[in-house]
Structures are given as C-alpha cells and as structure tokens.
C-alpha cells in the first residue's frame, strides 16, 4: 500500500509536483496517467526516495519514506525510466547483484533468481552478457532485478515504453500477476490503452497536479466523454492548449 499526501516538489521557480495526494491499494493496479512533463517521473522518484519532496508525506506500507528511506526502499521494487544494466555482466549476474544489495544471500537468492528468470521466460539468455540485448530483453532483466527481493509494492516508470507488441504483452501479463499476488502496483504511462487495459484506479496528472482520479468508468462518467481518450484530453486540458 502506498499513500501519498500533499506532495510538492520545486525545481527553481518551476513547481514540478504540486499538492499530489493519492492512495494505491494492495492487490490493485494504479495508473499514473499524464502527458510528458506532467510530473509523473518526479512523483515516482520521490516515492523511491531518490528525490526529497519539499512538502508532503509518503507512506510505503507503514514506513515513512522521507524519514526512513532505506526501509521504504526495501519494501519497493522499482523499474526506473532507464533500465541501466551492466553490459559486461550476464542477465543473471545483474539480478544477483541487486539481490545481494537487497540483503539476500546464498541459496535463497539463487532460488529466487532462478524462479524469476523462469517466470520472465529468460532461461535462454540468462547467462549471456547483456551488452547485445534487445530493448525487450533489457526491460525483462530490469524487471527481474526490481522483483528479486519479492517486494510488496512495485513502481514502474513507463514500463512498456518503446517495447514491441510481444514484450508489451509480456509486461502486462507480469503486472496482472503481481496484482493477483496481492501486491501494490503503481505505474506511470502516457499511453491511454495501456492504462485502460490494466488499471483499477487511474490518477490523471497534468502540470504537476492531479486533475482527476477514479476507476476508468468513473472518469468517463465524470467528464461525460464516451472514450477514455476523450476523457483524458478533456481532463488534462491538452485541447485547450493546442487551440491557444
């Protein structure tokens, strides 16, 4: 469970995130939807404690992420917007390294890594260096790395960005499985289909603020639009901007 209250972040005179509050519950997928520059990545970076909020509160389960960042990180599995693998290490070594940093050791780590590599269908590439991997393969390794310590909460920053159809389907499948396992999944996206296909709750962001939130149906009803895409455009004020 992730609870965010009145989060604010300023870069110089620009307010990147302003008064953002939402709750992402257990066993549910929450989508952070918004155009580029809406403040999604900044919000996530504050959640995984690499950025300090200027105001507000973040609770990961029952841990205050601002006061106790390391404990919060132990409860989080994170896929940042760059996969950033080590090209000279094999896929397995990349996963093992992060597992060790999470405090796993020995057979427990080996077993967990094996299981993940299996589940992500990576057996064939597990012991190859990641230098020549495709974008889809890199994303899978990064996902395995994020999940190695069996986190209760999973943050994914644009997980399907730039992936081909098969890899996108695989990632969606993983997200559904994480939900079925009762985890909290929070992911950001600017792709409508993505969000409508997966999310139980949608949090729509624009210009650093939350402009709407609720189930896909509720959002459609609220804006009086037939499709979610129209609802999105209406909510974020994109149309108005283009008109101006």
């Amino acid at each position: 469970m992730i609870r965010v209250e009145q989060l604010r972040k300023q870069f110089g005179s620009v307010t990147a995130v302003d008064d953002v509050s939402f709750v992402a519950g257990d066993g549910a997928v929450t989508g952070l939807l918004g155009p580029n520059g809406a403040g999604k990545t900044t919000t996530l970076r504050m959640l995984y404690t690499l950025m300090q909020p200027d105001a507000g509160r973040i609770m990961i389960d029952d841990v205050d992420a601002v006061a106790n960042p390391l404990a919060a990180q132990a409860r989080l599995g994170v896929l940042p917007d760059v996969s950033g693998l080590y090209p000279r290490l094999t896929a397995r070594e990349n996963v093992l390294y992060f597992g060790e940093l999470q405090g796993l050791t020995g057979t427990a780590l080996a077993a967990r890594t094996d299981a993940l590599l299996d589940r992500l269908d990576m057996r064939a590439i597990a012991d190859r260096r990641t230098a020549g991997f495709s974008h889809g393969e890199r994303t899978k390794v990064a996902l395995a790395r994020a999940l190695v310590h069996d986190p209760r909460n999973v943050l994914l920053d644009e997980p399907t960005n730039g992936l081909d159809v098969m890899s996108t389907r695989a990632v969606r499948e993983i997200i559904r499985r994480l939900r079925a396992e009762g985890r909290t999944v929070l992911f950001s996206s600017h792709v409508m289909q993505e969000v409508s296909a997966l999310c139980d709750t949608i949090v729509v962001m624009a210009h650093g603020r939350i402009v709407a939130s609720g189930t896909p149906e509720a959002l459609r009803a609220e804006t009086g639009q037939q499709t979610l895409e129209d609802a999105f455009v209406a909510l974020t004020g994109l149309e108005r901007e283009t008109a101006e």
């Binding site: 760059v82 950033g84 693998l85 000279r88 070594e93 940093l101 990064a142």
Partner: protein, 392 residues
C-alpha cells in the same frame, strides 16, 4: 545486512565488471609495466656507457713513431689501440671518432733528448657523451708521463717523491648506496605513479561511467547506504591500484637484482625486507589516489570529463619526483606526512638504504588514509544530491 557487507558486494561487482573490460586490464598492465621497462632501459644505457669507458679503443696516428708508448697502452687493461684516421680533426668533427691521439714524427728524437714531446689529443668538447672516454685517454697518457718521469729521475739519482709535493686523493662522502639512490630515483616515482594508473579505470567507469550508462539510478534504488556504494567503488579501485603497485614494485626489484649494479660502480644491495618496506610505504597511497579519482569522477558530468580530470591528476605525483631529480631535496621531517610527497620520500629512503623510521611510515600512512576517508565521505554526500544522481 550490515553496510560493510554491502560495501564488499559493491566492491566485488566492480572488480568482476572491470576485469571483463579489456581497457581496464590494459590500463592496469600498462601502468604496472611501463616503470620496470623504463628502469631497465635506463640502466642498460648507463651500463653501456660504463662499458665504453672501461673497454676503450684508442685510435692513434703515427704509431710507428712511438712503439714503446703504444706497447704500454696495449698492456693496460681494457685498452685496444688501433691506427687512427689520417684526417684526425675532420674525423672527430664529423663524429666518426670520439677521440684521436696524434704522435708527432719527432717523437723519438725529442724523447731521447729528454725534451717534452707534444702529443695531440683531438676531441670535441661540446659532446658530453664522449667526455668520459676522452678523460680516460688523457688519464692513460698522464700515467705514462708519470711513469717515464719517475724512471728518468731514478736514473739521475733523484727520488720521484721530490717532484710530487702534493698528491690528490678523491674521497666521496655520499655512500655508494646513496649514489645509487640518485639513479634509482625513478623507481619510487614509477611505484607512486602505479598507484594512480592502477585504479583509474575502475574509479572512472564505476562512477562517471555508471551515470552515463543510466545504471546509477537503479543502483541507488536499493536499500544500501550511499556510504556502502561510494565506499565499495572506491575500495575496488584501491585494490586494483594496489595490484598495480605490487606488480611494479616486484618487477622493479627483480630487475635491480638482475642488473649487475656492482659493474656500474654502485654498491647496491637489495635485502628481501626491502620489498615489504616499499609496499608498506606506498600501499596507503593507493587508498588516497583512488579516493581522489572516485571523487573527481563522481563529480564529472561524463566519462570523458572524468578522463580529462584523470589526465591532470596524474601530473601531481610526478611533481615531487621531477623536482627532486632537478634539485635533490633533502628530506625534512615535515615532508613525510604530506600525502604523495611522503610516500615518494619513504620509497626513496628504502631504496637508498636509509634506516626506515617506523614513526615516519605511520605518519605518512595515517595522513594518506585520513585524507582518503574525507574524500570518500564527500563522495558519499555527493551521491545524495539530486543534481548528481539525475545529471545536470
């Protein structure tokens, strides 16, 4: 899991990662080998020069005019007499010969009449390389002069001592080992340099390289204290630097043992303990050199920028070395706790055969380690800055 264990996890990963990189291996090897190779080449050149002086070939013009002199020259050890070129001056000017002795036609006549004979020693004073050889030839002729004079005096019933009011005796005050240390000055320099070249690749690749690849952000998402991350990377580069220092030191000492230093007039004895003292002197520097490198590379915006800093940084350890080879520095106690300079002096002392003072070793090691700790702390703090983690 304790932060120390996490630090070791980071260290192990960085070492494994680096030694799969050919560039890293080459940079360690090149940094370790360049010193020993250059030392070998330098000593070879000195040995060649020395041999040239000892085994001297003297071209003589007009040998037939002074058979006794030529015969005496031939009997001197290491001397070979050959017929000189007809155009002695031209030959020397054109550098075909270093020195030519010209015996005049009236040698025998004047010698019999006990008149001074003018022997010409043709040489080019602007050529420093041939100077020892010229001096050797001149000394040989002086000695012959002295012997003949002594015989003549004895023949006339005069003791040769009468015409020798003073006799000069050279006494060198620096010990043979100290003189050796002047020539061996380069060895400490190369060992100190190895502590900088050996860890450079890991220091830059694991910090600036990590950021450029975009792997710093995922790395910092793990619940490892920044100190474990910064410390682990630093320790990996320090170990790599220590490896390089070990290789350089061992090879240099093996080389010095293999070279017949006695033949060069250097009484230089390497005890088995010296390699340990050398390592004790320089290894703490590995902690500092790599701490500086890790700090600068974390600060750098890119791998390239980091490498530029490394290029400037490598000039720092050469400064005391360069200065001391131009103005031989007399070591003062205050110099030992100065990082880099202290290690350089200690290494020079060990090779020069001076009794090592444990206090100075401890002071030098302590100051290097303390400075390193401060730098690692600053690197740790830098890793908490959003501007560093997410680029500028």
């Amino acid at each position: 899991m304790s932060r120390w264990l996490q630090m070791l996890v980071v260290t192990r990963k960085e070492l494994r990662d680096a030694f799969r990189d050919r560039r890293a291996i080459y940079s360690v090897l090149f940094g370790s080998l360049v010193g020993p190779v250059l030392v070998g080449v330098m000593f070879n050149a000195i040995a060649d020069r020395q041999r040239e002086i000892e085994d001297v070939t003297v071209p003589v013009v007009g040998m037939a005019h002074a058979p006794a002199l030529v015969e005496w020259l031939r009997q001197q050890s290491g001397v070979t007499v050959v017929a000189g070129p007809a155009d002695a001056e031209v030959a020397v000017r054109e550098r075909r010969e270093d020195v030519v002795v010209v015996i005049p036609e009236d040698y025998a006549k004047k010698f019999r009449a006990s008149q001074p004979v003018e022997l010409q020693v043709v040489s080019d004073g602007s050529r420093t390389a041939s100077r020892p050889k010229v001096q050797r030839v001149r000394a040989l002729l002086q000695r012959y002069n002295g012997e003949v004079a002594a015989l003549r005096l004895i023949g006339r019933g005069v003791s040769p001592a009468v015409v020798t009011p003073i006799r000069i005796q050279d006494r060198e005050v620096s010990s043979a080992q100290q003189r050796a240390a002047v020539i061996l000055n380069f060895v400490p320099l190369f060992i100190v340099l190895a502590s900088f070249t050996g860890g450079m690749q890991i220091a830059t690749d694991s910090t600036a390289g990590e950021r450029e690849r975009g792997s710093l952000e995922p790395l910092l998402v793990n619940p490892a204290p920044r100190m474990a991350i910064a410390g682990g990377k630093w320790l990996a580069s320090a170990l790599s630097a220590a490896l390089s220092v070990g290789i350089t030191t061992t090879l240099c000492l093996l080389l010095l043992r293999a070279i017949p230093l006695q033949d060069l007039g250097i009484r230089f004895r390497l005890g088995p303990g010296q390699i340990w003292w050398l390592l004790v002197a320089v290894l703490p520097l590995c902690l500092l050199s790599t701490a500086i490198q890790t700090y600068l590379s974390t600060f750098a915006r890119s791998f390239k920028e980091a490498q530029t800093y490394m290029g400037y940084l490598i000039m720092v350890p050469t400064l005391p070395g360069l200065l001391s080879s131009v103005y031989p520095i007399t070591s003062q106690p205050w110099m030992y706790p100065v990082p880099i300079l202290g290690q350089h002096l200690l290494a020079g002392d060990v090779l020069g055969g001076k009794a090592p003072s444990p206090l100075m070793f401890a002071l030098a090691a302590l100051s290097a380690t303390a400075t390193a700790a401060i730098l690692v702390h600053l690197t740790t703090r830098m890793l908490t800055k959003e501007k560093i983690v997410f680029g500028r």
